[in-house]
């Protein structure tokens, strides 16, 4: 890494804090609503930068055990399901789909109710 701190994640966090503390209260309601979305988006980017690689690797490791293929991608997994190459009743497949979904939502929206329920 040739870049200095703040890291990209830390920079985004600084922008989020600025929007939240200095800008939010200045806006009329319909723009305040858009600012909330903007902050959510920045949060996703921050989490993807900071945790994305680990979360992705976990899924690839689980794929390795189930898919007998050189290509470990969600695209390939989707194709195997579609073409009936994996039994839909296969418990490992179900576990993999749960893991994939959990790891995606951990970046996209870790406050999502179903995610919070499942990690309890």
């Amino acid at each position: 890494m040739i870049f200095d701190r703040p890291t990209s994640g830390e920079l985004i966090k600084a922008v989020m804090d600025f929007l939240d503390t200095k800008i939010k209260d200045e806006l009329p309601p319909h723009l305040a609503f858009k600012l909330r979305i903007t902050n959510n988006v920045l949060g996703m980017v921050q989490r993807e930068i900071e945790q994305g690689e680990t979360l992705q690797q976990e899924v690839y490791d689980a794929m390795q055990n189930l898919m007998h293929s050189d290509e470990l991608t969600t695209k390939k997994l989707a194709e195997l399901i579609k073409d009936g190459k994996i039994d839909l009743k296969d418990e490992d497949l179900k576990d993999l789909l749960v893991l994939l979904s959990k790891n995606k939502i951990e970046v996209d929206n870790p406050n999502y109710s179903t995610y919070k329920k499942l990690i309890k």
Binding site: H30, F33, I37, V41, T74, A78, S101, N109, Y112
Partner: protein, 327 residues
């Protein structure tokens, strides 16, 4: 710009015999694809609040014309369904564009406020039953009066949703699984009905007493009435209150009790489950449609960009419903 809009509104209202000065135009947070304006019309010190709902001219592939939404509401109000009174309708080529003017209904439509604020505390326990009654009235109407609406049987919708999803070339293992699972379900047992298509908090107006109005008819069609019941029971529309299966506010038993008190078709809990999965998959595909409207450059919008990352919410809900005993 607001002056021009005010003058166009006055002109339109005059056409239907409503005279007065238009003032206090205020944009409201509406659906992602429609403009909503609240305004007042005053004459002789009397003032009436109204709403303009206007299409952007660029509708999603699932939406009907804004003016057709008005046609539906004019019909369903006759059978006692709670909807705003339509005052005037404008065609696309007119100055106001594809839009309509309706009376302003006092109350709240923002889901999080309804679920959180004290004012609605007494309304929430009765809301599921009221919603059941209201949607049953809508499902009971004679479909022959709605020949201008598209017919969308479940099987056709499923194929449409799947091919729409495929067109974005972003394969989802969970969606592939859901599609194969849904294809095995039996959707045949029903009578063709008017389906609202987006019946949930956000699209209903609630006050301290409960349900006041059902709004936002852009996804209306003729199809299976259970679709509306499964939709409002999807976790996507519980706004974080996932223990309340109906819209984050009520119990399924209450919704069905209200529904069955009016409906010709009697519905039980088991019939709703596959429609929850269907609804969740449908919402996932709608998220994709919205996100790709942004990505293709058709509309540049932070909301639409953000919604692309809500697809994963529908994926986790699908695996929860199918594998983990989610309700």
């Amino acid at each position: 710009m607001q002056e021009e809009l005010a003058s166009a509104l006055s002109k339109k209202l005059l056409e239907v015999g409503i005279e007065g000065k238009v003032s206090n135009l205020e944009p409201l947070t509406g659906g992602a694809s429609k403009e909503i304006w609240k305004f007042e019309v005053s004459k002789d010190k009397q003032s009436t609040k109204m709403i303009l709902r206007r299409g952007s001219g660029i509708e999603g592939p699932l939406a009907i014309k804004t003016a057709d939404e008005a046609r539906i509401q004019k019909e369903v109000i006759k059978v006692g369904a709670p909807v705003p009174t339509i005052l005037a309708v404008s065609k696309n080529e007119e100055e106001l564009g594809d839009s309509y003017i309706m009376n302003f209904v006092e109350g709240e439509s923002i889901a999080r406020k309804i679920l959180r604020d004290k004012e609605y505390k007494k309304a929430l326990p009765v809301l599921a039953y009221q919603c059941g009654e209201a949607i049953a009235r809508i499902h009971n109407v004679d479909v022959d009066n709605f020949s201008f609406l598209p017919k969308k049987p479940a099987e056709d919708q499923l194929e449409d949703l799947y091919s729409t999803y495929q067109s974005f070339e972003q394969p989802s293992p969970v969606f592939e699984y859901a599609y194969l699972w849904l294809k095995k379900q039996d959707f045949s047992n029903f009578q063709e009905s008017l389906v609202h298509g987006d019946f949930r908090l956000g699209n209903i107006i609630v006050n301290g007493e409960g349900l006041q109005s059902i709004i936002d008819w852009e996804l209306a069609h003729i199809g299976n009435p259970l679709q509306d019941l499964g939709w409002v029971c999807g976790n996507s529309w519980r706004f974080g209150k996932s223990d309340k299966v109906v819209g984050g506010f009520g119990e399924l038993e209450d919704l069905l009790e209200g529904y069955n008190s009016i409906s010709k078709l009697k519905v039980n809990k088991e019939m709703v489950k596959c429609w929850q999965v269907f609804g969740t998959f449908r919402w996932g595909v709608i998220c994709l449609i919205q996100a790709y409207a942004h990505l293709s450059g058709t509309i540049n919008s932070i909301e639409k960009a953000a919604i692309g990352r809500r697809v994963s919410e529908t994926e986790i809900d699908i695996v929860d419903l199918l594998f983990l005993g989610g309700e």
